[in-house]
Symmetry: D2
Subunit: 188 residues, 4 copies
């Protein structure tokens, strides 16, 4: 059974909006943040963000593991019926979040951080840790737009310094979504 045929093909094929959605450019929003060291507040924000991303019809991409921000954002997205991609560091699916619908298995450890960055049309950062910092830095290098969601002062100051106009700050999920829309508009 394909996505369009299943046992209810008529329903799907008679819904042109679905076909259009499916064939349209699908924007990927990468969400980065701490793993084991994520705070409850960061996980909560990520969860809300995931729901908001899915509500917009965008795909959520994260580091794909079963804890912290990467897990929380995909959990929120799936709950809202969104598509999720987890880009995993290991050699197999072990340790991956149950909320990653599509698992990209890289076998490249921290080098997969570059893939997260390059595959995302816009990045949102929720919390800060070493892995997260490497992703923000690579995103600046790759000329991507990065939104820091309610960042601490030290991280904001540092990344604004090295990223200048590429780094924006949003205080709320709602503000972040509105910024994403704005940045995506360049893709026409």
């Amino acid at each position: 059974m394909s996505l369009l045929s299943l046992s209810c093909p008529v329903t799907f094929l008679s819904c042109p909006e679905f076909i259009n959605w499916f064939m349209a450019t699908k924007f990927i929003i990468g969400v980065m943040g701490p793993g084991e060291t994520a705070t409850p507040r960061e996980n909560e924000l990520a969860f809300e963000l995931g729901k908001a991303i899915a509500r917009e019809g965008w795909i959520t991409l994260s580091g794909g593991r079963a804890f912290g921000v990467m897990n929380a954002v995909m959990e929120g997205a799936v709950l809202q019926g969104g598509l999720t991609i987890g880009v995993l560091p290991g050699d197999d699916e072990q340790g991956s979040s149950p909320h990653a619908a599509i698992k990209i298995v890289t076998g490249m450890g921290g080098a997969r951080n570059l893939i997260n960055v390059l595959s995302s049309h816009v990045l949102v950062v929720c919390g800060m840790a070493a892995g997260t910092a490497s992703e923000v830095a690579l995103a600046i290098k790759a000329d991507k737009r990065i939104i820091m969601l309610d960042p601490d002062d030290v991280s904001e100051e540092f990344f604004r310094k090295i990223g200048s106009y590429k780094v924006s700050v949003a205080k709320t999920v709602k503000e972040a979504v509105s910024m994403i829309k704005n940045f995506l508009s360049v893709y026409g």
Copy 2:
């Protein structure tokens, strides 16, 4: 709009098979083969294979570029309403197949061949070239099951020798699909 809300949310949410499909383990079938040097027959076979993969509800993964087997298999899959993933070697989406619904941008050149292999539950090979050979070899190393679709004698003999039981040969797309089903059954 999310996948489930769009402008026809009732239709989708009232279709439990869709929800089940969406939340179920999604199998990824990697299809490898020549790019510029693919023969018309190889492209045709890949196109038929893509349609057959989509019909089964599996996701099609390929090298993602706009020509050869990787393009043909995704074109077939999309035509049948299937989901397609293109794992791209370059730094951006340039040169990617229009039939890649999800574009994973690796920026890692030929090293992305490992990602193709590790992210696929089963691999099908259609034609032979240097890049393709590296993928089959990496797949054997990673202990994946590989199906060679109507291979030439020299390639078949070589990969059977270094891959033993991991390498199977299918004469037709239909036979390949039946082998894939068999191999996927180990994932429960």
Copy 3:
């Protein structure tokens, strides 16, 4: 001609310190910093650092390109007779520093930053830019010791925050070398 035979084999073979040096654990010091955007002062510091590293018998590793800190540190090292390794992002040696004695060609773009980090026993950072920041972050993640050479306040505060004890600050090349010695002592 091998390193030991050349046209003056007796000289080399009669110098047991050389043989000992050659077979001993060779420590690799990774030096990271801005490329095109490096200031004259940063390049000068890197040049002095390269000379100092070579004087200690350590190998200098950098990103290998022909400008900025990576070029300056290798130029200094070579001038002092030191061995240099350039880990290049591209597919070939094009654009590599003439002072890279050994060129590791990765073809992996920014993902090669991880290799710089993992291959170095200690890292020294001279100046700051997006690529540099990704390397410091990956080094913290990989549990390496990092020395920031005369950093700006914002960068120092940020990396001390996410790296805690792994990040040290040296005001001069001399102080950096003394810290490296200290950190290398754990390798016995």
Copy 4:
């Protein structure tokens, strides 16, 4: 102490051939072959090859692990006073050959095979296994010259087919060295 100063600086600095050697383009010969599954004969051939490479003043590069062809070729090279580079798949030096003078730690698993290929000016293959086959295939793709040392018929036929003029066959180490010289001459 630097390579040139040690405790016998006069000896080294008074040997202009050494300085010349050290500053000259250093050719890197990549040697690929089976790990655990290498036969005694393959290890022996690799050991002889390593000695011969070192005798020519070339650097030996291999996969860097502590067994099979990669270990044997570096053991031979070191015995002859040659410089050796091991490009390791893991996150640290664990499991590396004691004969790897320089250890490049990639943390990228099988993706490091591409680095082996791109960093070598010429490749020699000794025996065949899945990892080895991926390297030969990537080398063909990267337009490198590959010498198969006493290959089995099936492997020879396959790689000649996909690599055409890029793949040569040598029956002995001596013949391989003479071919390498020939191929290196294009680098001027």
